[in-house]
Structure formats: C-alpha cells, structure tokens
C-alpha cells in the first residue's frame, strides 16, 4: 500500500484493459506547423499566450504533418525541435527496447532499456545524445540517437527520495479523444501528492462538465492534445494558456496500460491528459506533486476566480442550505480536511527503573500515524520532570525522544513503537505513569472514511441532510457526512463557477 498521506493508496483499482504493445514507429522529422503563433508556442515548449481566435483558427486549420511523423505512418510522440542538456523526457523508438552505448560513435559497452524509459539529457552532440537513465535503482549513462528522444514532463520523486520514479515507462494511452460525459468519478489520483489538482478536476467535472470538454481539444493530424488553462495576470484578469502534449503517459512498471499518475487502466483518458498538460505548464510532474491548492487550480481550469469559505465561520444549520444553493448555482466545490487531530492521552510505556521503557502506540484506526515532531511525553505522577519530545520532521520514518532526563529514546512512526531510557534516577516511578500525546493523521473519521490532510470534491446533498464527497483517489469513498461532521473535519472550502455555456469558439 502506498503511503496514504502523500498519494492514492493503490493503483489499478478498477481493473481493466489488456496491456498495450510498445509504441510504434518513430517519427523522423521535426515539428512543422502552419500557424506562426503556434510555431512560437512549440518553440517555447508550450509557452504561449495565443488568443482564443488564433488557437481556434489553428484547431480548425489544415496543418503540416505532425511532430516528425510521416504523412502515411503511425503517429509517434512529440519530439522537441532542439535537444539540449538538462532536458527531461523519454526514449521512444520503434522497438520494445532502446540500446545505449558507452560512446557517441556507437562503440563501447552496450545496454538496453525498455522503450519509453525516462531519461535526462546529459550532453548533445550532433545527432546523438548522452542520457542518464536508472537501471535497477542505479543511474547509468549512455549514448543513443537524438531522434529517439521525446521531451516529456519530469517524473515525480520517489517516496524515499532516493531518486526519481525512473522505473515508470512512458507509453501511449488510448481513450476518448474528447471527454465524453466527464464527471468527477472519472478521476483517480496516482503516485504523487497532487490530490488538490485531481479534486479540482473532479469538482469542476461534477459542476460543469462542459468546462472540461471545452478545455481539451484533440489534434487529429498530430495525434496530440491541446489543453487550455488560464493564468491570472497582474490586475486579476485571466488569460488563456494553451499547452500541447501527446498521449504518452508514465505507466507503472510492467503494465503499459496502467497510468502511474492520474487515470486507471481502461478508464477515462481526460484526467490524465489534463494532469500531464498541467505538469508540462508548471514544469514537471515533480513540480505539481510538490504542492498546490484547489482555489488556484480550479481557477486555472475555468478562468474564473475561486472564492473561499472557512467552515469555522458556518453554523450547523447553514451547511446544507449552503451546499444546496452552491450546487443549484453550478458551483464546483473543493474541500480540504483538517491536517491533523490531537490524540487522546494514552499510557503505553511499560518498564521499571531507568528503563528501557517500551511502548506500542495505539491508534483509532490502522491507517493512522503520528505526525513527526508532535509527540509529547509527561509523567502524570510528576517524578520525571519536564517533557520528552520527539524531533521528527515531515516524512521521517523514525525520530529521537529528547529532553527531561532522557538518556536515549526512539520513536518509529511507521511501526508505531517507542522506547525510552533515562539517566540514573530521572525516570518515572513506573512506565504506566508516562502519558503520551501526539497529533495524528490518517483516518480522522474512520467510520465515514474521512482522511486527514486530504482534498475532496463535493458531489451532492443526500436526502436533504448529509453531504457526499468524492475522494480523488478513486477509492476509499467517504460515506455521507452530517453537517456537524463537516464542520468538525473540514477546514477549507473553495468554490468556483465556470463560465456558462460552451467557451470553445
């Protein structure tokens, strides 16, 4: 199971499609398009502020052959007009594997990587590039033809920060070219912490499916997608930004049909397309996996400024009418659950003398875990003077227990254990006197399946008295919650109203 606080708990939740074969023929030409503005856009790797009229004109125009693909051959991935060192992407060729050599001239030791392998360009020399790839958890470098390189958004970091998720393979995904009946439940978060963006897409799809349809256009002759976002300008106006991507998505190792990030095997394609375009715009999957928030990302999808509301400003009797009206008004609603909750006092330590005292930490749900840096241990009998605290930081698996005469102490946040040993005579009379408190994350309401530190998309009011939210993981869907439960656990509401009607010229 993946760590629940940082990403969806599992992939392949909805089952699905037969793994797809490796991508087909490699394109052999550089991109050429007929629209000057778009040409500039391509050269700027998606940087553009093309007016709606221009992009509409372009979308409907006859165009030159796509990204290097021959006019009569299968379409391949997007190829950059120039490959320079520092670029991230994938090696995509005509075969199941790509061969790399020690030297630029093809001599020296050889090794192969799967087609679609994530790679970083180290050096470019003529029609050859030297790339860095990860093989069996180790980084290796080798040379190959420049024409094999497809620029793609850099992947997200591994949980253990040992490196990038370089084992993910970019593979072409099939699906509806235009979003068909988009709805929030089409979304399923993958292996990174962008629940804010997934929940934003879901909330907008629930409230205004047309806004999702309008945002994504398929370019049939190029086999690419242009996704329209909006960027807030100085002064508060929003201008459209068009990001072009192909449908090669990072997939989990061993299954080229299972998107590693948004999406499911056989599921709707539009969430993954929109996520990939967002990653390209913001710099990488890594960039969007490192942070964001619904108020911004919803506005970037619809072009309308989000409004925020603090549940703490609401009364219980206000909650249902507020959500009913918002839904009636066509508002997309994104809501975030509290970061953490204070535990009840517990007395888990056992031992005598100066220790060691050993503890198994009790949680109200198997998913729950201590927030590093929040543990406090005191002596209810007062023999141990002061407070023992842990020194963990976010992401740590273990921490030290320090202070109040502790000679040594450890806490294992994942195994839910702790131990303490004191300097002579400075410990408690008995382990049971040690009172432990901490903040915890996980299932802050296990009965209703509400997860702390997480964003949800509003779906509707149930029976006029409860609220139904959608978990962007695509699983672990919460049960309907009461207004009191909403006010207890949710700390932020962002609402956004997409422009009515079709916004596609």
């Amino acid at each position: 199971m993946l760590q629940q606080s940082t990403r969806a708990p599992s992939k392949s939740k909805k089952g699905g499609a037969t793994p797809e074969a490796a991508p087909g023929a490699a394109p052999d030409k550089q991109s050429r398009v007929g629209n000057a503005a778009l040409q500039q856009s391509v050269e700027n790797q998606g940087q553009s502020a093309i007016a709606d009229e221009e992009i509409s004109s372009w979308l409907g125009a006859e165009r030159e052959p796509p990204h290097g693909a021959s006019t009569d051959g299968p379409l391949g991935p997007m190829r950059p007009s120039a490959v320079t060192s520092g670029k991230w992407g994938a090696l995509i060729g005509p075969n199941d594997t790509v061969e790399l050599t020690a030297n630029a001239d093809g001599t020296g030791g050889k090794f192969t990587v799967p087609d679609g392998k994530s790679a970083k360009v180290i050096e470019a020399k003529g029609d050859k590039i030297k790339v860095e790839v990860r093989v069996d958890k180790e980084k290796k470098q080798g040379w190959c033809a420049t024409s094999l390189f497809s620029e793609q958004p850099m992947l997200n970091k591994d949980d253990d920060a040992a490196g990038m998720q370089d084992d993910f393979i970019y593979a072409k995904q099939k699906g509806d070219h235009t979003p068909v009946d988009p709805k929030g439940s089409d979304t399923a978060q993958g292996a990174m912490g962008d629940c804010y963006f997934i929940a934003s897409m879901a909330a907008i799809a629930n409230a205004s499916p047309q806004a999702i349809k309008d945002a994504i256009k398929y370019n049939s002759t190029k086999d690419t997608y242009t996704v329209r976002f909006y960027e807030e300008e100085w002064g508060g106006k929003y201008k459209p930004v068009y990001i072009e991507i192909d449908s090669y998505l990072p997939t989990v190792a061993g299954n080229r049909a299972d998107p590693a990030y948004a999406g499911e095997p056989g599921g709707k394609l539009w969430p993954a397309i929109m996520e990939k375009a967002y990653a390209k715009w913001k710099g990488s999957y890594q960039a969007i996996g490192q942070g964001g928030y619904g108020a911004q990302s919803m506005a970037e999808i619809t072009g309308a400024k989000s409004q925020e509301k603090s549940p703490s400003s609401m009364k219980v009797e206000d909650v249902i009418p507020y959500f009913e009206k918002a839904k009636k008004d066509g508002m997309a609603i994104y809501a975030a659950v509290e970061n953490s909750r204070q535990s009840d006092a517990q007395f888990p330590f056992r031992g005598t003398g100066d220790g060691p005292f050993n503890a198994t930490i009790t949680h109200t749900h198997r998913w729950n875990h201590v927030v590093p840096g929040t543990m406090r241990v005191t002596d209810k009998a007062g023999k141990m003077k002061g407070t023992v605290s842990d020194n963990g930081r976010e992401g740590d698996a273990t921490g030290k227990l320090l202070g109040a005469g502790a000679e040594s102490g450890n806490v294992d946040y994942k195994k839910h254990t702790a131990d303490l040993k004191f300097k002579a005579g400075q410990g408690p009379a008995k382990g049971e006197d040690l009172e432990m408190r901490f903040s915890y994350q996980g299932a802050v309401n296990a009965e209703k399946l509400l997860v702390a530190n997480h964003a949800y998309a509003f779906e509707g009011v149930v029976n006029g008295k409860e609220l139904q939210f959608y978990n962007p993981w695509g699983t672990w869907q919460p049960k309907p919650i009461t207004p009191a439960e909403f006010l207890k656990h949710f700390t932020n509401i962002s609402v956004n109203k997409a422009p009515t009607g079709s916004t596609q010229a």
């Binding site: 998606g46 520092g86 942070g291 911004q296 509290e338 909750r341 530190n453």
Partner: protein, 223 residues
C-alpha cells in the same frame, strides 16, 4: 502610546473587534484563533501575545487569512503558530491587498496537504506581502516550509530570518533585503512566465535552487 480601539485578553474572542480602521491590541498569552480578516486594520500584540490556530485539538486553516481585495492589514509583534492548511498554514494572503507582518514570529505551522501543501509558515498568492523583521521557524510544508509565494504576489522582505525554506514560483516579484534563509531558497517559473527575485545583503545557508529549465530572473547583490 498606542491607541487601541480594542484590547483583547488571552482566550477571549477576537473576531468581534475586527472592524475597518481598528487597532486591536492582544494581551500577553495564548489567543486561540483562525482569523479571516476582511477589513483594513492593525493587530498589535503585547509582549508574549500568541495567536494559536489549534482549536479543540484540531489543526486546520491558517491563523491569519486575508482573502479580500484592496485592504491594508498590519500584524505587529505577534507570535503566529498552530496553523495548518492545504496552503498557507500560518498566514495566507489570497486577495489583492497589502498585508504586513512586522516584528512577528511565525512558527510551528504546517501545510502538508496530501504531500502537496505549500507555504507552511506563509503563503502569498496575490497582492503585496511585506515581512519586516519577522522570524520564521519550525514550519512544515512540501514546498516552501516557511514561505511560498505564488501567482501574482509581490513580496518585500526586510530583516527576515527563516529557519526553513523559501520558495518563489510563477509570476512572483520578490525582494529580500538584509535577511537570512537557513534552509533553501527556491525559484521556478512556468512555461509562460518567470518570477523575479532580487536578493540584497541576504545569506542563504541551504543554497539557492533556481530551476534550470524554468528559472527565475534572479539578481543577487551583496549576498
């Protein structure tokens, strides 16, 4: 002599005193609060005054949030702690307003939403955030543990001290003068624009990470 329009003892509600033009003075001690400020006003802390966003054992929402436009808000001499949110744990400026923190301490706040929280100590999205002789420490976030400035915010930092990281993203315009960042100072644009960051007489212990592919326009003087 400070003219307070209201003086609030520790533990008493602050919200009823938030009015346009108010100077709300907070007595020493802990003031549990998550303030959504929608008026132009000043919050002034007496020595030892603490705004704490932990309410009923729960952490959620920034301690000070200015969502409105065309406001001028000053926070002086306060410790801001215990805030948490998906964005901006301690302080959040999301409106086209001016928010100034002067001689404040922003500590022990977090923005860790599903691994993607930004701005544990403070988040500025638009408007102007001024940090004058303000110290940040022990804040947590996936990006910008102490400060994350994003979108179309202007940030002016003078005499600041940051125990953690500072991150400037997107179209931000930031000036950091006479300050110290013990963590990292990061900067990254998008494919459509880049932040503008000027560092003057500022030490960055953890190093400057200016994204190589989408770099900020970075100027370093006397650093």
């Amino acid at each position: 002599m400070i003219d307070c329009t209201a003086r609030v003892e520790a533990g008493q509600p602050i919200d009823p005193h938030l009015r346009d033009g108010a100077v709300v003075c907070l007595a020493a001690g802990v003031h549990p609060a998550r303030l959504v400020i929608e008026q132009s006003l000043t919050l002034r802390g007496e020595p030892g005054a603490i705004l704490d966003g932990t309410l009923d054992g729960s952490r959620g929402g920034p301690v000070v949030h200015v969502p409105g436009d065309q406001l001028v808000v000053k926070v002086v001499g306060l410790t801001i702690r215990g805030g948490a949110g998906d964005a901006g744990g301690g302080v959040r400026l999301s409106g086209w307003s001016e928010l100034t923190l002067e001689e404040c301490v922003v500590e022990d706040n977090e923005a860790t939403l599903a691994g993607g929280g930004v701005g544990g100590g403070a988040l500025a999205e638009r408007g102007k955030l001024s940090l004058l002789s303000t110290r940040f420490g022990n804040n947590r976030a996936s990006s910008g543990s102490d400060l994350y400035a994003n979108g179309v915010a202007t940030v002016d930092i003078q005499g600041g001290e940051f125990g953690g990281d500072v991150f400037f993203v997107d179209g931000v315009r930031a000036t950091v003068t006479g300050s110290r960042v013990r963590g990292k100072l990061g900067a990254r644009g998008t494919t459509t624009r880049a932040p503008s960051v000027s560092l003057r007489g500022t030490a960055v212990d953890g190093g400057i990470e200016n994204d190589p592919n989408l770099p900020a326009a970075l100027v370093v003087e006397d650093g």
